[in-house]
């Protein structure tokens, strides 16, 4: 079993706590028949304990692949080609053996997936599926783990948990299944939760309940959450920091308030414009004109330029770096905001 880093001690110090998770230059490729595509191309992220870090972006921008790379769940034909994923007190996850990663997954880092309908195994009772995590990581006996699973079901707000634990996934509603997924992910009180569009498949009222539940559990266990979503409203309500991804790279990163008050990247502006004002959770992004580029045939220079209303000469010459605006934590990948665009 792996010991959990003590978040409370770190939080009480006056100097900013060291990041819980520090992803640097993560690059993940997939070999396909048509060629090798970079689904994630040099992504860097940093999460503090107790923080909710949002990741938004259109479909195919590399959000899920980023999360799966952190989990060490990229499988053939995918491959992490470079970068590092530092978990506090545990070093670089990318250099860990399979056996070590197995001990970390589900214990220190958990993941919740988008599809509650298919993410639970249809032939095992939900209580068993939750208990499995406890038996793997906490060396509990079967009855102990089963009892704990009932408790977890109760904690995620499932009524008559003892009876529900004996049911199969198809006997539960989508919202309940996602609660089961959360119970499973939270079973070992992980310090990091990767939530990949946890509410996209649910209807609006259930979405709100699930998000509230995640916050509640996060506060209880002091976990950090990497929250992947299409939904700017969800980001506004849940996250403290946000990264906007496009075609495998981070286009803009800022504190949530800064991003909404002062979106700098034309892509971010496009994403924000495409939701009606005053909106909250539940509104999916309306499409920005044009389509997400084929990762095998990215435009030269800035990868957003063929869809960008503000595209100008420098954009074709070189890819802009992720530039940190002076005096802030706001970072943006756009020549408009760079002091020295290429001539």
């Amino acid at each position: 079993m792996i010991t959990h880093p003590d978040q409370h001690q770190a939080a009480s110090q006056s100097t900013p706590p060291p990041p819980l998770l520090e992803v640097k230059n993560l690059t993940t490729e997939f070999s396909t028949y048509a060629g090798t595509l970079r689904a994630v191309d040099g992504v860097s992220l940093s999460l503090s304990p107790g923080e909710v870090f949002g990741v938004v972006g259109e479909s195919g921008s590399g959000k899920s692949v980023t999360a799966l790379s952190i989990m060490g769940l990229i499988r053939r034909p995918g491959r992490i080609v470079s970068g590092s994923v530092q978990l506090r007190d545990h070093g670089d996850l990318l250099t860990k053996s399979h056996a070590d990663m197995r001990k970390i997954r589900g214990d220190l880092i958990s993941m919740i997936f988008q599809e509650p309908m298919t993410s639970l195994n249809p032939v095992f009772r939900v209580g068993w599926q939750i208990a499995e995590a406890l038996r793997l990581h906490r060396n509990m006996t079967k009855p102990e783990a089963a009892e704990q699973a009932v408790e977890l079901l109760d904690r995620v707000g499932i009524g008559s948990p003892r009876q529900r634990a004996r049911e199969f996934p198809h006997q539960l509603s989508g919202g309940m299944r996602q609660r089961v997924m959360i119970a499973m992910a939270m079973a070992c009180a992980p310090s990091l939760l990767l939530a990949d569009e946890p509410t996209t498949a649910l209807d609006v009222t259930v979405q709100a309940q699930i998000l509230d539940l995640m916050i509640q559990l996060k506060d209880r266990d002091g976990a950090a959450i990497l929250l992947i979503t299409h939904d700017m409203g969800v980001i506004a309500e849940m996250a403290q920091k946000v990264a906007v991804m496009y075609a495998g790279v981070v286009m803009e990163e800022a504190a949530v308030g800064d991003l909404f008050d002062n979106p700098m990247h034309p892509y971010t502006q496009g994403l924000l414009d495409s939701i009606p004002h005053g909106t909250s959770r539940g509104k999916a992004l309306k499409a920005i004109p044009g389509i997400v580029p084929n990762l095998l045939h990215l435009p030269t220079g800035c990868r957003y330029r063929d869809r960008c209303p503000a595209a100008h000469a420098p954009c074709a010459r070189a890819e802009p770096p992720l530039h940190q605006m002076s005096g802030t934590t706001h970072r943006v990948r756009c020549w408009l905001h760079h002091p020295e665009p290429p001539k």
Binding site: L73, R102, G106, T118, S119, L120, P122, F124, A133, H170
Partner: protein
């Protein structure tokens, strides 16, 4: 589960009734009058009429059916017109031998078919996978009589390590003699099923491994070994059992050829002789027994299926 069991049991009743009607009408649909046939060349119109009356053939068909079915239910399958012995003990003895052969073939098919299928999926796109699937394809396209004859040529006549015919040595033998005699016919009979099972198991496993819930299990920290043998196999077994059920039927039917090639004293061989001799009670009894065992095998498969898949059990 009990509700499902009762429902499924109730469903077998009309099927069994249908089978019995078909088997009964065999006698009347087949060309030639049974009484005529029985009397052979010595028949006169009067003797035929008398025998027809004795056999009840002059009564209306439903009455005849009811009488026949009543006797069947009591275990009276009539007497063989050729052997002049009770049909039931005779076919049961032969059926037991066929079951020995089919079970041997089934064990072979399960162990090798499912085992190789799982390994091929685990070692997907490796040399093992390619070679195993090539062999399976070859096994699939080889007719049983050919496999059987080749097996006899190599192991019985060439290497002389295994017997080529019968169930026991002429002087009688023990269980190990039976196993030695069983080996070649069981493998011959089971080869095609093993090949089919290997391919279906492999594809079922490959499909299951792609599923979201397997990713969830990995995210939980479950190891690959447990992923394959617990999370994936349990789901794939739903497909595997379906295929297996069909294969048991195929094995029972396919045993006729294997029994002929290896002179195995089974039901199939006896049925062929009974048909040639127009021994109707024997044919009827044999067909009835095979058909009824099909029904119950299907029932067993469905129950296992429901036990494996809670979506059926609780619906």
């Amino acid at each position: 589960m009990r509700g499902y069991l009762l429902k499924r049991l109730a469903q077998t009743i009309p099927v069994l009734f249908g089978i019995s009607v078909l088997v009964f009408s065999m006698l009347h649909l087949a060309p030639g009058d049974p009484a005529d046939l029985l009397l052979g060349s010595e028949s006169t119109p009067e003797s035929v009429a008398q025998l027809r009356q004795e056999m009840g053939l002059d009564r209306p068909l439903p009455v005849q059916y009811a009488a026949w079915a009543g006797r069947i239910v009591q275990g009276d399958f009539g007497r063989s017109t050729v052997l002049n012995r009770e049909v039931l003990p005779e076919i049961l003895k032969r059926f037991k031998n066929t079951l020995v052969l089919t079970s041997g073939a089934l064990v072979f098919a399960i162990v090798f078919g499912i085992g190789i299928g799982i390994l091929a999926a685990v070692y997907h796109q490796t040399l093992f996978d390619s070679v195993a699937m090539l062999i399976a394809l070859a096994g699939l396209s080889m007719p049983t009589f050919f496999t059987g004859i080749v097996a006899i040529l190599i192991f019985a006549m060439g290497l002389q390590i295994l017997p080529s015919a019968g169930m026991y040595p002429a002087r009688g033998g023990d269980f190990f003699d039976l196993l030695r005699h069983l080996l070649l016919p069981a493998i011959t009979l089971g080869a095609v099923s093993a090949a089919i099972l290997a391919r279906m198991t492999r594809s079922a496993m490959l499909e299951v491994i792609q599923q979201d819930y397997v990713r969830t299990a990995r995210a939980k920290g479950v190891g690959e070994h447990r992923i394959v043998w617990v999370h994936a196999l349990r789901n794939a077994s739903i497909t595997i059992v379906t295929v297996l059920g069909m294969q048991i039927g195929y094995l029972l039917g396919g045993s006729v050829i294997t029994e002929a090639v290896f002179s195995w004293p089974g039901l199939g061989q006896m049925m062929v002789r009974a048909i040639q001799a127009r021994d109707y009670p024997m044919v009827q009894g044999g067909v009835l027994l095979i058909a009824v065992s099909f029904v119950f095998i299907n029932l067993a498969v469905d129950l296992i299926y429901a036990w494996l898949d809670p979506r059926i059990r609780y619906s």
